[in-house]
């Protein structure tokens, strides 16, 4: 497989939403087997409109299903079994709760049950996280559920380049089912995106910032928050933070995470899901098991406290695992 893993010379600056839309455009153009079940990849975000030219151009590749998450996720699984490469765009991630039986108990088990003879290469795309005003039912972060379901791949891009590279790989190359989780608030994030058919195979973590004192393992939007925290800590405390972005939870690039932990001996793990048995907890357990000898302080988690996400801005803000909490967590390690 020939893929461009590292950024080649030429890049442009794109918003996350633009890179996502560009990926969808290219995927549709390059593989006639791709069909989109729903196509509101950019949700109700300020950048929602960037999908419009893509959905116009590829209208014949899109079906708009009834409000039947369970049925249309199952339809995607069946279509994948019959040789298509469906991408389900579910919009708000909590809507996927209606479809858990098909995602977890069908899509995820098919390859294992047939010894790999039957495969379901389907992408379930969803917008997760505290979007602002979503309240308890539109702010959900179910990434830990998917990670806890063997047979599913889980992608959580943090940058415009990564969303494009990972979505292209999931849609065009992967042989297994993928839950692809974009944070609603990442859509406006700008960053360099390589020109050309930029693809990132799953299972390759990326060190987003190098540093020798503390490792922050951060997923998705937490990477931006960790980079902000790192800059502040360098400026105010002289602490050099290394930010490691797994990019995919399953498969997980353990080697890159362990190498950083062994270098720094101090770790904060952060993800915008709940603390209880969340992604940060899972990462912390893996690191503790494999790198205990290298740790010079207990691993700290920065995640959402175990409370349903409220509507009022003041209450919502209190739950977000933001830069402030990351800075405090790193300082507490010293």
């Amino acid at each position: 497989m020939s893929v461009e893993v590292r950024a080649p010379a030429a890049t442009r600056t794109l918003k996350f939403a633009e890179a996502l839309a560009e990926a969808v455009d290219e995927i549709c153009a390059e593989d006639p087997r791709v069909v989109l079940i729903g196509a509101r990849f950019t949700g109700h975000t300020p950048s929602a409109h960037v999908m419009e030219p893509v959905t116009r151009k590829h209208a014949s590749r899109i079906v708009w299903p009834p409000i039947s998450e369970l049925a249309y996720c199952g339809v995607a699984v069946g279509a994948a079994l019959a040789g298509l490469r469906p991408i389900v765009e579910m919009s708000t991630a909590t809507f996927s709760y209606e479809a858990v039986p098909q995602i977890v108990n069908e899509a995820a088990v098919i390859a294992a049950m047939s010894g790999g003879r039957v495969r379901a290469p389907v992408v379930f795309h969803m917008l997760y996280g505290i979007r602002g005003g979503g309240g308890p039912q539109h702010s959900g972060s179910p990434q830990a559920w998917w990670w806890n379901s063997p047979g599913l791949q889980v992608a959580m891009p943090s940058s415009p380049a990564d969303v494009k590279g990972l979505l292209r790989w999931a849609a065009l190359r992967s042989e297994g089912p993928t839950v692809f989780m974009d944070h609603q608030r990442l859509m406006e994030l700008e960053g360099p995106v390589p020109t050309g058919r930029h693809e990132i195979p799953f299972g390759q973590a990326d060190v987003k910032r190098s540093g020798g004192d503390v490792t922050i393992v951060a997923t998705s939007i937490q990477v931006s928050r960790a980079l902000e925290a790192a800059n502040r800590l360098a400026r105010e405390d002289g602490i050099e933070v290394e930010v490691v972005d797994p990019r995919t939870l399953e498969p997980l690039d353990r080697a890159t995470i362990f190498a950083s932990v062994r270098k720094t001996g101090r770790v904060v793990v952060t993800d915008e899901s709940h603390e209880n048995a969340g992604v940060a907890s899972g990462l912390a357990a893996i690191i503790a098991e494999e790198c205990f000898d290298a740790l010079r302080a207990p691993i700290r988690r920065v995640a959402i406290p175990p409370t349903p996400v409220p509507y009022a801005e003041s209450l919502e803000r209190a739950l977000i695992p933001d830069t402030e909490r990351l800075v405090a967590a790193v300082r507490a390690l010293r």
Binding site: V35, V63, P65, P66, S68, L70, A71, Y72, C73, G74, V75, A76, V77, G78, A79, A80, L81, A82, G83, L84, P86, P101, Q102, N105, E106, I110, A111, A112, M113, S114, G115, G116, R117, V118, P150, G151, G176, E250, P251
Partner: protein
């Protein structure tokens, strides 16, 4: 109806009956490790419907799948090996009795969750339609599936998108007297007649005596022609009467194994199964019909039965001699 086809029907139904009886023996010896479900009493429905399908048409089934896989051409040895979790089974023992599937026969994946296969079947039909293919999809499911929400979502979506799909609902809870009537009683459903439900969605329905193999065959053949010309989906209610051994999750061989001589005198069947044999046993009824019409004589019937018994004996031996899968079979299917 052509005699060759009639004899094929009889052999297939007998093959299913003898395989299912063998399952009860396997459960008694502990070869079947947990609860399981049998198709005794419904052989005519699976046999007639499958005979109407082309070899590469898709079939989806349920936890009660053994008969459907055999009717679609499944090898009894590979079916029995899968049922007892051996490496020679269709899925190498990974699926077991609940999940017997045979990708090479157009049965790519079998869900044991009530309603689990339905949207996947719709997805396969969706893919066929998008590619302008001619393959039809037939989904077998029980009346209990109509208690699940996924049935309604899938029915609605299949009708909105005019999918080339036959919903083949096997109502196995109908009394002998009600099989030909309008009522389709099932204790857990508010609808008095289950086929009224799809009609509310504009889906054409048909009701058939599921103990009459020739009637099922003729009906499904007619519907498949219409499905292939773009008229789908359709809904069939196949009515059968529950075999007395088939209550609960652990079937009992009430009245012993079927004696083909009951076709000459159904009243000679033992107490526990006599009434059912006389009124509702599709295998005995069909053998009796072929005798009555002179398609076969008693000697020929005994010879066919002996042949099928021999075949299923060999299949059972193959299954028992097939090794347990080794742990390596778990690798590489994530």
């Amino acid at each position: 109806m052509h005699r060759d086809l009639q004899l094929r029907f009889l052999r297939t139904m007998l093959r299913i009956r003898r395989v299912e009886e063998r399952c009860i023996a396997f459960a008694e010896t502990g070869e079947i490790r947990a609860h399981y479900h049998l198709y005794i009493g419904q052989e005519a429905a699976g046999t007639g419907a499958s005979a109407a399908l082309a070899p590469d048409d898709y079939v989806f089934t349920t936890h009660r799948n053994h008969g459907h896989v055999i009717a679609k051409g499944g090898d009894p040895g590979k079916v029995l090996a899968e049922i007892i979790g051996r490496s020679g089974g269709y899925l190498g023992g990974r699926g077991g009795t609940f999940h017997v599937a045979a990708p090479e026969l157009g049965i790519p994946h079998t869900s044991a969750i009530v309603g689990g296969s339905l949207p996947i079947a719709a997805g396969v039909a969706f893919a066929v339609r998008r590619r302008k293919g001619q393959r039809a999809t037939l989904a077998f499911f029980g009346d209990g599936t109509m208690e699940e929400g996924v049935f309604y979502e899938t029915l609605n979506l299949a009708q909105l998108w005019r999918l080339p799909l036959v919903f083949f609902m096997e109502n196995n809870s109908v009394s002998a007297a009600e099989r030909a009537g309008r009522g389709s009683p099932t204790s857990e459903h508010a609808a008095k007649a289950l086929s009224d439900v799809p009609r509310a969605f504009g889906v054409e329905t048909a009701t058939v005596d599921g103990t009459d193999v020739e009637a099922v065959f003729a009906l499904v053949r007619r519907l498949l022609e219409r499905v292939r010309s773009g008229e789908g989906p359709f809904f069939v209610e196949s009515r059968t009467t529950r075999w007395p051994g088939n209550y609960g999750a652990f079937p009992k061989l009430v009245g012993g194994t079927t004696d083909i001589a009951w076709a000459l005198d159904a009243a000679s069947a033992p107490d526990g199964v006599r009434a059912w044999t006389m009124e509702s046993d599709p295998v005995i009824a069909y053998a009796a019909k072929l005798l009555w019409h002179g398609a076969i004589d008693a000697a020929a019937l005994r010879a066919i039965d002996a042949e099928v018994r021999g075949e299923v004996d060999r299949a059972a031996r193959f299954a028992l001699e097939s090794p347990l899968p080794q742990a390596e079979a778990l690798a590489g299917v994530g």
